[in-house]
Symmetry: C2
Subunit: 471 residues, 2 copies
């Protein structure tokens, strides 16, 4: 049954003000619009108030207050999410973690770091790099997304193919529970077998089980070298086939990105900085990086990869021969999402399948598109079998968009499941994918998840209306 949430009374407003301080609390429409949207389509839901707490104690007080009064609390990182996870769809309070922006400790003895969740991914990466260390998870939005948001969805990025996603680097979390209690979920250790793993339960739970206030990350030594190549293909499915062959040859690249022609073309146009010719016969490209400490090994790997690419029908390979060229190529890849967004109304699906099933997924997406009359631009982390399918509204009527498209998306997700995959690899379910959860899970399994939610948050005040359709 859907929960009814209370509106804030003037007393509640007053109490919130006392807890966080007047200057850290916003009620003006302009700010509420900012705190009521993220990067998901053009969705906006206005909260009644946005607060920016500065201490764990304040968060505990806020949550206790809202828990007593049944007021919705939507925790928010940097608002770069693509599934509507940070949208306050039940109004109430938006709790922004923007003041939790400190790297508290980089422990070079243990190769660990303790950070606050509002720290921006890229800033953290750069700080640990200065000490010869490496924090690999690198979503396309790394320049603006927060580490707390990364935990909410177990975000990936290009490097996940070799180094894993956010989950693989989280050792321990400080979490404020819905009743205001503060726990540490685990220990600062590389191995852990001490009761149910609450750390791993929290990662990917999209702010519905608790509010993360400190993170202990594992770090690894920074690889000394990397090499980057761009590989064009006439045939997109051949590009996907080539991906699997590389891994089967025993090579694990540090990035293995796929882009359809439109994706790269739109991105070049959008970023406007890169002068790069896309030949008319190219229909897809792979961006492949290898990294490590021994340049001769990397050169050797690149040669093998080039051979495999040619066997799969690639055109001439471009090796990035300077830091500038590498940055330019990465910039094109990272800007694809924004470029698509600027081009048309669209919907992005975060499909994921076992790596070798990628050609079948791509073919299926195109066939389903043809059936329902929509165009898609596909790109993503091919090495992980993670394909971002951007469905373009273009000239489609609102009626087709609203009524037929969900049928097409349903078929795409059914295909993912049939191929051993699922409906989100790294963007999460949030608001916009929850209606598709029943494709993947039977009702009793969804109910298990709802019941876990109830254990942590009996009044369902934390990020309500996400992940599951309400029952």
């Amino acid at each position: 049954m859907s929960v009814d949430y209370n509106k804030l009374t003037s007393i509640t407003f007053q109490k919130l003000k006392e807890i966080v301080g007047e200057q850290y609390m916003y009620t003006d429409v302009e700010r509420l619009e900012k705190y009521g949207s993220d990067e998901t389509e053009d969705l906006v839901f206005l909260p009644e108030v946005a607060v920016c707490p500065q201490t764990v104690e304040q968060i505990s007080e806020i949550v206790k207050l809202c828990n007593q009064r049944k007021i919705s609390v939507t925790t928010r990182g940097a608002g770069t999410g693509l599934s509507g996870g940070a949208l306050p769809i039940k109004g109430g309070v938006v709790l922004s973690m923007e003041k939790f922006n400190k790297i508290l400790n980089i422990d070079t003895r243990n190769l660990q770091a303790t950070v606050e969740p509002g720290v921006i991914n890229y800033i953290f990466q750069e700080e640990v790099k200065k000490l010869g260390l490496f924090y690999p998870p690198d979503p396309a939005s790394w320049g603006s997304c927060s580490l707390g948001g990364n935990i909410a969805h177990s975000s990936g990025g290009p490097k996940a193919v070799k180094y894993g996603t956010t989950r693989d680097y989280v050792l321990n979390l400080e979490v404020v529970l819905a009743n205001g209690e503060v726990i540490w979920t685990g220990a600062n250790t590389l191995k852990y077998s001490t009761g149910y793993n609450l750390t791993h339960l929290m990662v990917g739970s999209e702010g519905t089980l608790g509010i993360v206030t400190k993170i202990v990350f594992k770090l690894i030594p920074l690889p000394k070298h990397d090499l980057l190549m761009l590989v064009p293909f006439k045939n997109a499915e051949s590009a996907c086939e080539a991906v699997g062959s590389v891994f089967r040859a025993g090579i694990t690249p540090s990035a293995m990105e796929f882009m359809e022609r439109d994706a790269i073309e739109w991105s070049i146009k959008y970023s406007g900085e890169v002068n790069f010719e896309i030949k008319p016969e190219w229909n897809a490209l792979l961006l492949i990086e290898v990294d490590g400490n021994h340049m001769d090994v990397l050169m050797n790997d690149c040669e093998k990869i080039a051979e495999i690419m040619q066997q799969n029908g690639s055109d001439e390979i471009l090796f990035a021969d300077s830091a500038e060229q590498k940055n330019a190529l990465w910039k094109i890849r990272r800007k694809v999402g924004e470029a698509v967004k600027s081009n048309s109304v669209y919907k992005e699906e975060d499909t994921v399948v076992p790596r070798a099933e990628l050609p079948q997924l791509l073919k299926g997406v195109k066939d389903i598109g043809a059936k329902y009359g929509f165009k898609s631009v596909c790109y993503g982390h091919a090495g992980d079998g993670n394909l971002h399918v951007n469905i373009i509204k273009g000239d489609l009527s609102d009626k087709v968009w609203d009524e037929d498209l969900p049928k097409g998306i349903t078929e795409i997700f059914q295909l993912c499941k049939a191929l051993g995959g699922t409906i989100s690899g790294e963007h999460g379910i949030g608001m916009v994918q929850q209606k598709y959860m029943s494709i993947i899970f039977p009702e009793y399994q969804l109910q298990l998840m709802r019941d876990i939610k109830k254990v942590f948050d009996p009044n369902e005040i934390l990020n309500p209306g996400k992940i599951f359709v309400a029952k």
Copy 2:
């Protein structure tokens, strides 16, 4: 409040017989003793019956029956556990997974395998090796432990330091729930952000949330080469100090094992096969392995490691120069546990701390031992900060053993916590460590875990009396 379990009636016996078949059901004392013990101390708890189902459907039927009748069901792998996780302490039914011993599929296209949980770890390793693939988790008991048991505790082993524990290789699990429903916890994908991660919740839950009936593992390419060295130290704390230095130098060995003098001496005596001189001045040894595809890189790493060892005061390093010598050294390491067990009544603690805190942990263990008058033999996975502390009864009186020892163990675990660690890295909590859980977690956090248990298993029939002290 502690749950009361029902004894089996003759009707229940009859139904179980109909479900699994008479030849797969045991009630004779000799067999029940076998199914009522594991490798934890000398503990035995007799179940009323042991059954060996052969299909998922049978397990579903058994669980449904026991759930209706409130009969305890303890799922059992190969019985090699060290925390009493497989002991049927509430009697009832032992459900042995020994007939679930098939490798169902090794998918060389996707580098995945689907296996049943009763498959022995070493057999699985050897099968994937034949295809050039690698499943790294390798507990000391790999020759006899089952993959299902490994999942129950997220078992590690020497290779965890480079490759992670069981958790890091589990993609998806088929699980029979307490009500008999069968679910797949996730998808066969490398990335996953589709609701609460039930796969990761199940791993390490010690058979208390469901019964794993199929496992989809991630595999990786098999490294082509490895090198092994044995490094003696006069001073055990110096050996621990040397461990941290290797990782800080940017090298990640594929094994970094620590053994106190007694551990290696007892093991050599116990296995009786290896002729190897332990010099009188050696008090600890490190067994260090590097692996990879490029021998020159490995040689280079070994040189650097040797240098670091010497800087930390090592004596002359022995390089294993043949497969036989490697096997002999590994055999010594793997047999330490059995050797200690054969030597005296003992208790094993599975302490784990951040890697660089290992010298402090070792010193603390010895100081606490001196205070309470007990001797300990320590060994384990130093690269992971995971130290197995074997407390030896020797000449201690039963009174000291029963009354004072728990105080000493409590102090050791308090030290682990103070150092950022916890009370189990890979053995789990099971029966024997549950009374110490309150050192690590506040009561409301333990209650959270109990409530999660209740979601999955409202009648608390699955492996009851484990992980938490009953409330």
